[in-house]
Symmetry: C2
């Protein structure tokens, strides 16, 4: 059984009391993205810190009472979640009381998206649906393809014409049925929508499907549990379409309702300077407007975010903030993160760390505060950009004297 | 404290009773690779299935009494180990009683090598050594660079001239000091040896350092614990220099000495047809001879394995076997593994699965037996080879009718 009470519309606010799966608000149609509401009083009877202590399932399924899925189909999945929470030893360098990194690049397909994809797969099985579809070229698509492969489901992925083959490798190898649409992302999305309706496939277009944010929220549940429910003052995460940051808020919100934490951390949403619709909306206090998509951080290059309400609410309700970082700051942060923390993050994930550095330099985050930075994807997802900041190694003869001279020069340099 | 009793030489068999770190047998010199021997009776007083049940440290450090390191320096490491053990649901397809995959591609730098590298880093810290060096272009190097970065250690990596920049990305981003040697791997190794002696750096050249196999053995400890100590009939692993397979054997050997398992699984070592010195030595029952290195599975393309004794003993003592697979079989296995199990493995790791398939077709592994295949590295380590077996997606207009026609044709095809 699930502990869902019903669905509320993020636009009109109407509450639908039902356990039957809903996707969009019948009144608000396409814009009427729904939020799942849980029966926290009932959840309290089966879920607590003590229950977690005895739970040996170190995956997102340890939080089953807080998820919109039945246990039955969760058994055959990839092992998603319970990624490392690593404490930095470089507090002095960053001038911060305590800093942790949540390395979600170590999920099965190397991104946080697995938390949503595995939920989509379970929902598809619950609905007796053998095919899942989405429009994406990035982590959502490869994640869906990998999780679906493990669970015996077919996937159809719609990609824009320009999608480079390199980016498609991971999803093609997982056996996804990839349809390249002669046009841009909007065209790919449009055909995916028509096809999903026509064929009755399960829909993993993230923002629209309210179940997916519930999967993503497990990253917050884990951060809390891994810190023994003493949550940090700030959680920093990069923002594209607004679903991940929405999930982060929802996870902490759940725990607060259950009296398992004392506060919701302030959430810092980080966007790329070249694609910053949330930042613009936040600082100007106006609705989201479409922006360009000029950034190397392709996983957060979303000019028309499809989850504006949840993405803005996460920051507003947590009393956090939005800020922007340049591509140069992102790449510098990527290098610093790798060489000082041993975490190789993709550009979009490095943006969160760049945001933390900026927030410290502007004293938005204070020295006496504690912080967790979420790393949303692994660096091997995109080595092309990393290469641009790396120096070619020196070439030496097989000669010890030459090597000794080289190191002497290095030291002086 | 550690539970080391001493070191025995894999060549002359001499036992050195000491807790002080040793690297090579003083009598046998360069060939005298040592094996660490533990005091199992003492270990039994602190380590058992019950102790493990209460241990919440889900990393290789949960096996600390079986490792050659002190606890002190293990605290600040990356979280290595406790990778997923996934049960296949495709028993019928492979005609096998039970099949598991140990996905070691989800270690922090995406390969099993992290199990050895993190031990090397701790040993360096114990020895008050701030720099670690090795000769390698592959997973050992990037793994060392990542683990050392987290622990505040410097790394010097010697690579042959031909090492492509793509392959170096991961280690360069972790801030390794990369020295390109004007020559082949042997030249790089030779300069690394001279430099390590001259500068007094810690040596992570895998075969020579007996601590590293102790790190690698944790993969076997985890397989056993994740299966509730009911170990499989077979464990399948790909073989390059012989260290990993040596570690797999050592892990099960330890558990047998501690009466925690009832048998050591038969170990199947898989080599590439174009580079098969262990296979040749095994089937012809003669000493290892140098072979060519013609295979796409670069992580196991080792023409002169540096751990011949341990690599052969693992198979002989476990009553297992060696076999070879072609590059074509490797790539087919990679695709099958990804699309039917949701695991994207690099070619060397896919070789193990190809070996399992071959062993089933030859009935070396029987239908009524149970098997665990170790996946030693993630597919994103090498997407170039994966691309060669993937088909370019079809290009369609943003038109539902065309899509419907496409799927009809696919079904007929």
């Amino acid at each position: 059984m699930t502990y869902i009470k019903g669905y509320s519309c993020t636009i009109c606010g109407k509450f639908y009391e039902t356990k039957a799966e809903m996707v969009l608000c019948p009144d608000c149609k396409d814009k009427g993205i729904l939020e799942i509401e849980f029966d926290y009083e009932k959840i309290k009877t089966v879920f607590s810190k003590e229950v977690l202590k005895d739970n040996k399932d170190y995956s997102i399924w340890r939080y089953l009472p807080l998820l919109p899925v039945e246990e039955k189909y969760t058994k055959g999945s990839l092992r998603v979640g319970w990624t490392p929470l690593l404490e930095s030893k470089n507090n002095e360098l960053y001038q911060i009381k305590k800093l942790h990194f949540k390395d979600d690049g170590l999920n099965p397909t190397l991104s946080l998206k697995d938390r949503a994809s595995v939920i989509a797969c379970v929902k598809a099985l619950e609905n007796n649906n053998r095919t899942i579809a989405c429009a994406s070229t990035g982590n959502a698509a490869s994640s869906l393809a990998g999780n679906a492969a493990k669970m015996g489901l077919k996937t159809v992925i719609f990609v824009p014409k320009r999608a480079p083959i390199g980016k498609l490798t991971q999803l093609l190898v997982f056996g996804a049925n990839v349809i390249k649409v002669d046009g841009d992302y909007k065209k790919a999305f449009s055909l995916s929508k028509k096809a999903i309706e026509h064929f009755g496939w399960y829909n993993r277009n993230a923002a629209i499907n309210p179940n997916l944010i519930e999967g993503k929220k497990t990253v917050a549940l884990e951060i809390a549990e891994q810190l023994d429910f003493d949550v940090p003052d700030w959680v920093v995460v990069s923002v594209g379409d607004g679903c991940t940051i929405g999930g982060v808020y929802k996870g902490f919100y759940d725990l607060l309702q259950l009296n398992m934490i004392k506060k919701i951390p302030k959430i810092l949403g980080v966007q790329a300077l070249g694609c910053d619709p949330f930042y613009q909306a936040f600082i100007n206090d106006k609705p989201l407007e479409e922006t360009d998509e000029f950034t190397i951080a392709d996983s957060i290059a979303v000019g028309i975010p499809r989850n504006p309400v949840k993405g803005l609410n996460a920051v507003k309700k947590s009393k956090g903030s939005y800020l922007v970082v340049s591509d140069e700051e992102i790449m510098k942060a990527m290098k610093l993160l790798a060489e000082s923390e041993g975490i190789f993050a993709e550009p979009a994930a490095s943006a969160a760390f760049a945001g933390f550095i900026k927030a410290r330099s502007e004293n938005l985050i204070k020295e006496e505060e504690t912080v967790t930075v979420i790393i949303t994807g692994n660096g091997l997802k995109d080595t092309k950009n990393a290469l641009t900041i790396l120096e070619e190694p020196v070439l030496l003869e097989d000669d010890l004297e030459e090597l000794i001279r080289y190191f002497k020069k290095e030291k002086r340099g």
